[in-house]
């Protein structure tokens, strides 16, 4: 074991310098032990990549907003670009890199964000009146997206019945959202209404089905999620 005459300590680690004062140590016949694993830190590259990507995203939003403002001709197209960048972040940054989030929650967030993106595109990428042109998204796109994602999670739950609990809350939340197109029918924002009725019907069937077929698990999961 090496000895540092300056600090008056013995050094068990294999080294030529004192870990305290960093002076060169006198020679010793005992080489010492490799106390800790070799340096293998790599995580910083991913972090650097995300920092570069966020800088580029913010710059992109700023530049397009500036160009839109300087050349404004009645169309707020930069909002669409900004929303698309935010959407890309949600999909790439959160849904892909966020590894500890369950797939069902990712699907739910995806369903909401894709609907929001479509709404923004329809609202800001046209010259015409806002409400009439949201009709396509509200009548067709939104119910279709909700129906699609509810069916995907239902199939997934059937395949992975052992992990039913993990899908429950996202599926229940998505099914509640499935009633939104039907609610919008009463505000005359949806026409034709058959897709909205389809989304609400599927949502109702999903909620009732879960409560009938997996009542114990649903009640237990709700107890956990909403404990005070």
């Amino acid at each position: 074991m090496r000895h540092c005459p300056e600090c008056q300590i013995k050094i068990a680690t294999r080294t030529s310098r004192c870990p305290l004062c960093h002076r060169i140590l006198p020679e010793s016949t005992d080489p010492g032990v490799i106390s800790y694993p070799e340096f293998d830190y790599k995580a910083s590259r991913r972090r650097l990549f995300l920092k570069v990507l966020s800088t580029l995203s913010l710059t992109g939003i700023f530049v397009t907003t500036l160009i839109n403002w300087l050349t404004f001709s009645g169309q707020l197209w930069s909002v669409v670009v900004a929303t698309a960048i935010v959407y890309a972040w949600v999909v790439v940054g959160w849904l892909t890199f966020k590894r500890n989030v369950h797939s069902s929650l990712k699907l739910m967030v995806h369903a909401i964000s894709i609907t929001a993106l479509l709404l923004v595109i329809e609202a800001f990428a046209t010259y015409n009146q806002l409400v009439s042109h949201l009709n396509w998204t509200l009548s067709f796109a939104m119910p279709s997206v909700l129906i699609g994602f509810i069916i995907i999670i239902n199939i997934w739950m059937l395949i992975k019945r052992q992990q039913l609990r993990d899908f429950l809350i996202s599926q229940l939340a998505l099914s509640v959202l499935g009633f939104i197109p039907l609610i919008l029918v009463f505000f005359n924002l949806v026409n034709p209404t058959y897709m909205a009725i389809g989304a609400a019907g599927l949502s109702f069937a999903t909620i009732i089905g879960l409560f009938i077929l997996a009542r114990r698990i649903v009640v237990s999961e709700l107890g956990r999620k909403f404990h005070l």
């Binding site: 050094i11 068990a12 305290l20 694993p37 830190y41 590894r99 404990h227």
Partner: protein
Amino acid sequence: MPRRVNKDTTWFKLDNAAKIYPVLKSSKDSFVFRISVIVKEIVKPEVLQQALLDLTQRFPHMFVRIKHGFFWYYLEANSKKPIVRPEPSLVNQRIDTQANNHFFFSVFYYQNRISLESFHALCDGAGAIEFVKSLVFRYFELRGHEMKNDGTVLTVDQYPKPEEMEDSFAKYADKSGANREKVIPAFHIKAKKFIYSESRGVITARLPAESLIPIAKKHGVTVTQYLVALLTYSIHETYIGQIPEKRPIRISVPVNMRRYHPSISLRNFSQYIHTTVYSSKKLTFEEVLLKIKQDFETEIKPETFQGSINANVYAEKNPFVRILPLFIKKMLLSIIGTRLGARLETATLSNVGIITLPESLTPWVDRFEFNLATAAQAVYGVGVGTYNGLTTISFLRSIYDTNVERRFFTTLATAGAEVTVESNFWEEKA
């Protein structure tokens, strides 16, 4: 195999102290601590893996994942298997739950070292030591050695008791009144930090307990008081030019509440005291010792701890707090934790005391080591413990400079202790 206790143990509420940790965790504040056992053989990973799996039923509160509720986080039994892995070069980094099937602890092996790194939301140091003792006991049992439990270790053939999983803060809170510690902004070391926020330098020293105890006795203080005073004085000497008059050097010292209540909980049940020393050019070590001793005597009182436990439990039980959705709680706790919590301390020192193992296990265990978490502003965590007459003192830091450690250990060596040091030399790597 033992069966589960009668209550549904497939999910637990986080204990009172644990509630803050999932909210505040980051790469700078991982709230992860490490307990290592250095055994007298090269660790066999496959045996260690089996030993860990065998503990699943005995320590249900550890084999969980942390889930989001609408109002609070909660712990849910994790049916997957934790995987023992080779030790990484980073110490106490944020738990990579994905790499370990969503568990919030990791078991590592490196040469003859077995390490448990645990997120603080699962347990405190005392709870983690029980887990590590059981793991090593089971490991040597599976290695074919005859192990006899003399009551100092929890074994896989026992049933877990409900009291081991209780939230002792909630159990022992009473209506005797709340008492909150006064917030005194502490001095924070301003030194060059490692480039990567997760990097930590480790310097661990081991010395015979019989050489340390007389040094403390000579000054009329306990070993913990002496070490806190020495840490305070080492920081004072190293950073004397930087310490503002109104910012004291405050050392946070965890105290095991199981000493004051008949709790056998394996989860969190610790409180913190803070020692406060104002730096000045004329400050002497004797003055620091005297102040630390006074602070210990003033703060370590059952009624003070009771007031603090009550305050925390009242806050948790407050109906207005309870009905706030988790995302709002996270925002509020994050502000409170960042603005107040970290301001309180310059560094943390925890002495877990003397660890005892069954006599049949002692021939196979050389020593224990303890690595505390550092925080964004409190750049030093110092873990102390004694096993089989050998005291280990482990400094974990997030800065390049090693002068505090140099002063600390040189003082001990000069006072007559035979100090042997190991380091990960992170200052030369990143």
